[in-house]
């Protein structure tokens, strides 16, 4: 079965698809509508570009949010 293997927040994650955008990944992770920020291979991708940014096998994504802290 064709799949796409990414590393998301340090965890190897397999998507059951051969092509996807960052917006697809966000939806698959259940993060739509949440306030997040994403780094793809060390570069920040602005929210407005999720739909036009393809992900490729081997990509490393960091998806972060704001949590309580001092």
């Amino acid at each position: 079965m064709a799949s796409l293997t990414l590393t998301v927040n340090g965890k190897v994650t397999e998507l059951a698809t051969t092509s996807a955008t960052l917006a697809d990944v966000v939806a698959l992770m259940g993060l739509e509508g949440k306030r997040i920020a994403i780094e793809r291979n060390g570069e920040i991708v602005p929210r407005s570009r999720y739909a036009s940014t393809p992900v490729a096998g081997g990509d490393r994504l960091e998806i972060v949010g704001a949590v309580g802290g001092g």
Binding site: M29, G33, R35, P46, V67, G68, G70
Partner: protein, 270 residues
């Protein structure tokens, strides 16, 4: 609720990076029991600036799970994303860039680069490197620092917007351990100097303000009090009292020299 007012209407505002704030108390949002307690305590504190940490999102979690941003809407508070937990300049810069993206381009940040997991003492070499990069990248950097006046001067020269020396170790509640170093930093600084870390109770906050600090940043002293909401109120009053005392100018200390406040004449039977 604690949203900033127009600068023109404020008496003695705290000005950071050209923005005026009514409250000189800045608070963290960590270590509370739940978001209700977080919100109640922060509202009671009167703080307008609240620090938040940037962390990996839990993936596949329930989408309806409450978030900090629901409890403290960014429309009501000025968020101060921090780089807490970072041990290198690179990690700190990446984290704060993510924080800026998360908050729609918000430039204000709290830079913190740690050097030791036990003491949480800052690594000043990495902090200086990160401060240079962040300032060059357009950030307004409020910087957590050791209470070294030379390092504080360098951070000011780099272009940070506030110098935030520790009063004692993060989360220790040990209070103001070295008021003399804070004084040295305050005397030379042209920027707001805020005590960040170490405050344990209300009198510590007052002492920081009486020394002439522009403000105080705290988290654990409120969150880990037996009654956080009540302590939040105490801290608001302590910061206000300390500021008023600083502005009023304390009487000179007279060692071993008493001075009666009541008239020495007109006593009955004289």
């Amino acid at each position: 609720m604690n949203a900033p007012a127009p600068a023109s209407t404020l008496v003695d505002p705290l000005v950071i990076a050209g923005r005026a704030y009514r409250s000189r108390l800045l608070v963290g949002t960590g270590k509370y029991r739940d978001f209700n307690e977080t919100r109640d305590a922060i509202v009671a504190s009167g703080a307008e600036i609240v620090t938040v940490a940037i962390r990996r999102t839990n993936l596949g979690q329930n989408a309806s799970e409450p978030s900090l941003l629901d409890a403290l809407p960014p429309s009501e508070f000025t968020y101060l994303p921090n780089s807490a937990g970072c041990y290198t300049a690179d990690e700190a810069v990446r984290t704060l860039r993510l924080g800026r993206e998360l908050l729609d381009g918000h430039k204000l940040c709290k830079l913190e680069v740690l050097g030791d997991p036990a003491s949480l003492f800052p690594n000043m070499r990495e902090t200086l490197v990160a401060a240079e990069k962040l300032v060059a990248d357009g950030f307004d950097v409020m910087v957590y620092t050791s209470d070294d006046p030379i390092v504080a001067r360098e951070l000011e020269q780099i272009g940070c917007v506030a110098i935030m020396p520790l009063a004692s170790l993060i989360g220790s509640g040990m209070g103001i351990l070295n008021p003399w170093n804070l004084r040295l930093i305050l005397e030379q600084a042209k920027l707001p100097v805020l005590v960040d870390a170490g405050v344990g109770t209300a009198s510590d906050a007052s002492i920081a303000m009486e020394l002439g600090c522009a403000g105080v940043l705290m988290n654990t002293a409120i969150a880990k009090a037996r009654e956080p909401v009540r302590m939040a109120r105490a801290m608001r009053l302590a910061v206000e009292a300390g500021r008023e005392a600083f502005l009023a100018g304390r009487m000179p200390r007279k060692y071993y020299e008493a001075s009666a406040s009541s008239p020495a004449t007109g006593l009955i039977g004289s």
